[in-house]
Structure formats: structure tokens, C-alpha cells
Symmetry: C2
Subunit: 418 residues, 2 copies
């Protein structure tokens, strides 16, 4: 499926043996998002036994159509170490934006094709309900040709789900845009989810271009009150069946997960998804263990992401402080990425001596108050350095917190640590 040279390169980057990668790729427990048409400078592998990866969402919206900021976000996200980028644009000329993003992205790029399908229908026919199978396949083929490396496909929300939604009176409703678009399409057109019905056709495009299918969770809980509910579980069952189809067809696949989840249900969610979906990579948005931290959901998400990672989630989607409130600014993107990186790294150090060593080295420098090396090893050198540079004492070895009462300096003075 992949060239030996690529496996060799990835094995080095991922700190695992080549045959481990090959075995897990074959089993579907690891995926490599890499469109056959693309050259990706920073390739990445996602899945079992690897470092936890993070994805950053960027893209325009109907209210923010300019894409210059999005390219800026892309560059910053890559410089801060995002493993992948998703272009979720819904405003402006989507194809041009996508091409720009793919051009500038040294990491794999994902999309949610239903956004462009819906927007085209609205632009051409006045309503986003008016798309056909041809429209779907046209957009997906075009995006594949453009070099997209992974697609989120919301094929797990079915027509019969609509009745359950009506009965269940879920608190948060449907909070997935793709899910809501498809729910409305099914409702208005009284037909089955076209992504589900034509899943084979989508797979053959994905197979041709070696695109990873990321099975979207259209029914992810959008409120902790809906955590692990009937609708979420119904969809997970459908996704597990679609995973089986992907693996049978030799198409790389991962599964997307929640969402707003109670703190003590996160572990169970990961376990269930992994068990039901044959151990394919699990990609979570959050999870967020509370709904009321508006403006701070990057922190809520770091809590959920770390627990998810510890329990086996493979891929974390960055949540920014702007979540639930606005289109994120560049600063929001930075804060969100750092929060996800902390969650991922807190788990990675338990598994990889090379990651553990980073903390060990920084702490050894910290004991010596060797600030320049502390900054070098900090997850975000600039932030750490700017904090210290704000001090009058920044030319000495101490900081303004403890001054001469610095515990480390006191200990140095009595040779307990020489």
C-alpha cells in the first residue's frame, strides 16, 4: 500500500519498528493520510501504539469569507506542531481556498465534502437540500484530485434516526453541521442518507486516491446531558458496520467521536468505540466534560482529551476558546493547539522514552535555573520566554515569584544537590 521508503521514514519519525507499522497498517489499526496525488513533507501515522496526534480545524465561514487569515492560521498551526489540518471552509470560493491550503500545507489535509456539496446546491439551486448523487460524487472526486488526504463522511446518521430524534427530545440536538445538513436533506427529500446508500461509490474514489475515510459522528452529544445516549450509540453501531466495509475494501478508515461527555464516561466511550470498530484509529473532538466553560473550552477539551488519550484515543481535534461563540481568531487557534498538545504529551511521555526525556531534560535545566535551555525545551518557547522577559530579574538566575527564597537556590547553598 505504501512504499518501503515511506514506511522507513515514518518508522523513524514515529519511534516504532517498521514491521510494527506494517502489521498495524494491515490490520487497519494505524492509518497514513496521504493522497496518492500529494507530496506531504510531514507525513504522519495515526493509531494504536503511536504518539497521539492532533488536528487543527481552519477555514472560512459564510460570515468570514476572507481566506488570508486561514492561511496564516495554517502556518502558525504547523509551526506549533499540528499533525494535520482540516479545511472546514463554508464561505467564499471553496475550491480556491482548498487549493491554497493544500499548497501551503506541509501536513496532511482533511475536509468535510458535504459542506461544499451543500454550498454548491445553495449557490446553484437556491437551497442546500437540492443536491443529488451526481453532485456528491462530483465534489468528492474533485477534492480527491485536488489532493485531500482524508475525508470526514457522515454516513452513520440514517433516516430512521430522525424519528428517534423526534421522540428523544435530546438536549443539545444535532451539533454536527454535516449531520444537520444531512438530517434536513433526508427530512425534506424523504430519502435515506445518500452518503450511506452510496458508501461503495465513495469508497472507490477513496481507494483510487488512497484517501482515509474518517467516519463522522453526526449524532455526537452536544451537551453533557446527552453523553453516551441512545442516538450516539445507534450511530456508533452503524459506524462499526461501515468500518467493516472499509476494511474489506482495503480503504483506510478511522472513526470520529464525541463531543460533550461526562468526565466519568470518557473511558467507556473510547473502549466502546475501539471494541465495536475493530481497533481502527479513534479521533475525538474534545471530549468536553462540562458545557458552561464558554470562552475556555480549550481547557475543558484538554481535560477530556488527556483522559481520552490515556484510554486509547489516537487523534485529538483542537478545540479553541472560541468554540460555541465565534469563528476563531489566530490567537484562539494558538491557545487551542497548545491545550491539545499538553493533553497529548501528558499521555505520550508514559509510552515513549524519547518524549519522557523532554520533560526530564527540562527539569534538569530547571533545577539549575538554566533559562535559555528551559525555553528551548518548552512546548512553546515564545510564550515561556515572553513571560520571563517581562521581569526586571530576567538577567539573574531567579524569577520574581520567590526571589532570594527560591527553593532550588536555597538547596544549592547547602550542597545537598551538588
Amino acid at each position: 500500500m505504501f512504499k518501503a521508503s515511506l514506511i522507513k521514514k515514518l518508522s523513524k519519525k514515529e519511534l516504532v519498528p517498521k514491521n510494527y507499522l506494517e502489521k498495524k497498517l494491515k490490520e487497519g489499526k494505524i492509518v497514513i493520510p496521504l493522497n496518492r496525488k500529494r507530496e506531504v513533507e510531514n507525513i504522519t501515522a495515526i493509531g494504536e501504539g503511536l504518539r497521539i496526534k492532533i488536528n487543527t480545524n481552519i477555514g472560512t465561514s459564510p460570515e468570514k469569507k476572507g481566506y488570508k487569515d486561514e492561511i496564516e492560521k495554517l502556518k502558525i498551526a504547523i509551526s506549533l506542531g499540528t499533525d494535520t489540518i482540516m479545511d472546514l471552509s463554508t464561505g467564499g470560493n471553496l475550491r480556491n481556498i482548498r487549493k491554497e491550503i493544500i499548497k501551503y500545507s506541509s501536513v496532511p489535509v482533511g475536509t468535510v465534502p458535504i459542506y461544499e456539496i451543500a454550498k454548491n446546491a445553495e449557490d446553484k439551486r437556491g437551497s442546500f437540500d437540492k443536491f443529488t448523487l451526481d453532485d456528491i460524487l462530483e465534489v468528492i472526486t474533485e477534492q480527491a484530485k485536488d489532493g485531500v488526504d482524508f475525508f470526514t463522511i457522515h454516513a452513520g446518521i440514517l433516516k430512521n434516526t430522525l424519528d428517534i430524534i423526534k421522540e428523544n427530545k435530546r438536549v443539545g440536538g444535532i451539533v454536527s453541521r454535516g449531520g444537520a445538513i444531512l438530517a434536513r436533506w433526508m427530512y425534506i427529500n424523504n430519502k435515506e442518507n445518500p452518503l450511506y446508500e452510496n458508501f461503495d461509490k465513495i469508497l472507490s474514489i477513496a481507494k483510487e486516491y488512497n484517501i482515509v475515510i474518517s467516519l463522522g459522528d453526526a449524532l455526537r452529544p452536544g451537551a453533557v446531558a446527552d453523553s453516551t445516549d441512545n442516538l450516539q450509540m445507534q450511530e456508533l453501531k452503524v459506524l462499526s458496520e461501515l468500518v467493516r466495509v472499509c476494511l474489506k475494501e482495503g480503504v483506510q478508515v478511522m472513526v470520529e467521536g464525541p463531543g460533550h461527555i461526562k468526565l466519568d464516561e470518557i473511558g467507556t466511550n473510547i473502549l466502546l468505540a475501539k471494541k465495536l470498530c475493530r481497533g481502527v484509529p479513534f479521533y475525538v473532538l474534545g471530549p468536553l466534560p462540562t458545557d458552561i466553560a464558554c470562552g475556555y473550552d480549550h481547557i475543558t477539551s484538554a481535560i477530556g482529551g488527556a483522559i481520552a488519550g490515556l484510554n486509547g484515543a489516537d487523534f485529538l481535534c483542537v478545540v479553541t476558546p472560541a468554540e460555541h461563540l465565534r469563528h476563531p481568531s489566530i490567537e484562539d487557534i494558538k491557545d487551542g493547539i497548545m491545550a491539545s498538545k499538553i493533553a497529548a504529551h501528558s499521555v505520550d511521555i508514559l509510552r515513549f522514552p524519547e518524549e519522557w526525556q523532554k520533560d526530564l531534560n527540562l527539569s534538569l535545566y530547571r533545577r539549575k535555573r538554566d533559562w535559555s535551555n528551559i525555553f528551548k525545551l518548552s512546548m512553546n518557547k515564545n510564550k515561556a520566554e515572553s513571560y520571563r522577559k517581562s521581569l526586571k530579574t530576567h538577567t539573574t538566575d531567579i524569577c520574581t515569584m520567590c526571589g532570594k527564597f527560591c527553593s532550588l537556590k536555597i538547596l544549592d547553598s547547602c550542597d545537598l544537590y551538588k
Copy 2:
């Protein structure tokens, strides 16, 4: 121990029956920090079966002696919902600062008396090693008279520990200021820890004023490499013995905990501390599951705090983004408090229907895009509102993220949620 009217008031605030409070107070599993000399407007109870409480550290340093900012921090911390305040001042006129803080604080105030003891010795005798038992008792008595509600006492670090420190070559060393001061005092004076040797005298002052003793962890790990190490466990054993003494003497007591702890060892740390220390309240600083997130340790701490809380920690100490870098600014304090509140609330909603209801209500308003009520119920109204006010669309019901592709609005349009 406490008046019936106070228990009644607290039972209402803490959402538990009066007899539950009384029983747990008697067992030592709940404490109420409230100096007999003080009137505290917002009294609080800390411990088993209660909402998780948070403490905010404020105070001057040798490099930041002005206390105006500290009073400002105090007011902001209280307005953001801190349950207690600790005055950790080490610069300027400590008594005046403490009196100001106590005057303005509507919540319980804690201190670490060894700071003032050491500073006095340095001011009067040129070295912070030159304090005597009289100096110790004088400061503790004065602080008790001033109305301090809880004292951190580092009585668990013993003289024989110094040899272990020398042998073990711990990565992070001693990162507790109180611990380092006492380690140096023992090393220079070649005597046992005076707080340990005279623990009975300290207890009798605490008893007289009804001050809670918070047993400080002088040997808490300051690097994940030291997580749950020999030194930490040695000290915990001493602390467990001191807990027994406090309970026997009828002095309220809690135990302080780490520190930098590996993500998968946090649960064990809480379990051990609770088991060894007879279930008295456990007060954690962090824990921080990675060392390298300099400038973002409020997030690292939120991850550790949520997991600690889920496993039974009762009291979280706020860690700010300035941790390890500088004396915190007012903004740092705000960010730190919010991070701790998110961690605490994520656990509280699992236990208290009243807390759960907050998330439920906000999510119901979110589904309706009822922004003014969303803000009212947000953990930090101002931050959430300022995010939204930055938008052109803030007078409509949508936000700039999805615009007309708002999933909730789409669903409304097809009567699935009517």
C-alpha cells in the same frame, strides 16, 4: 465545635444534610477553616462528599513588594468564585499585608507561617537560618490572633530525609519554599525539623483559635521524573502520623499533595493519601502531568486537577500560567482560577444535581441561541460575552463560525425539535 447556626448555613450552601456535615466533621473527613476570632462572610467546608473547593494563592515576593496588586487579585479571585485565599507574601511588611488581606477577604485565609519566620530571621539576624523555637511560636501566635483560618505547616520533612535527598539525586530537588527553608535550617543547625519536634505546641495554638492545620508536602515531586518517589512516600508516612496526632488532639487537619505527577499515577496518589491519612481532606497543587508546558501550566493543572478530583481530591490549589516563570499578574490569576473551576465543576456535576442543572440549563438555552441566558449561565460571563461582542453578527441569533450553516438553526427549520 461549631455553632448550630453555622452548620445550618453551611448545610444549605454545601447541599448536604446537617447531620452529614456533623458526622464527617467529627470523623475529620470534612474541615471548616474559620478562626475563632474571625467573621467570614463566605464560610466553606472542605472534604468528603462536598463540592470540590479551590484556593487561590496571592501575596508579595522579595521582587514584588507592593501589595496593591495583591488586594486587587484578592477581589478578583473572590468575584470569580475562589473558595479560599492563601497569602504567601514574602516581601514588604508581611504583617500589614496579611492584615489588609484578612480585612478584605470574605473567604477563609490561609498562610505558610515559615515564610514570615524565615524573613524575620533574615531581617533581624541577617540569615533565614537563624530562627528559634520562640520565633516560630511568636509568629504563629501573632498570625492566629490576626485571624488566619488555616496554616500550612511543613512538619513532614525530617532531618534523616536530608541523607536520602543526597543519595537519591532527585531530578527536581525540593520545590517547596517552606521545605527548602527547613531543609537548609536542619542542615546548617544540625537539628531536627522544629515544626515536627514542636508539633504539639503548634497544635495547641491551632486548637485555641480553631485553625485548620494543612500539612504541607515539602517533598512534593517538582518533576514528573520524581512522581510518587521514595522521598514523597517517606514524607506521606510522616504526615499520616501527624494526622493521627491532630485528630487525637481535636485539631482540624488536611493534607497537601503534589505537584508534578505522571498522568497514570494521579489516581494512586489520591488513593494512597486518603487511605494513609484517615480520609482527611486532600489538597492538591496541580497535579501537573508534564513539565514542559511553561506558560500554560494552568491547563496542565486543569488536567491533573480534574483527574485528582474524580479520584477523591477535595481541594485544588490554583496554578497560573505564570507558574515556574514569574510572580503572577492579575490576568494570570484570572486564567488560573478559571482552569481550576473547570476541573472542579467537571467533577461536581457528576455528584450534585444542582451543579448538573447548570450545564443542562445552559445547553437548553444554547439550542435556542438565547445568548443573554447563555452568558448568564457561563462560568465567566464577561469572557463569553466579550467573545461574542467582537462579532458583526452579535445582534442576530447566529455566530460567525457557522453562519447560515448553524446546525441548530437547520434543525429548527425541519421541526425535528419543535
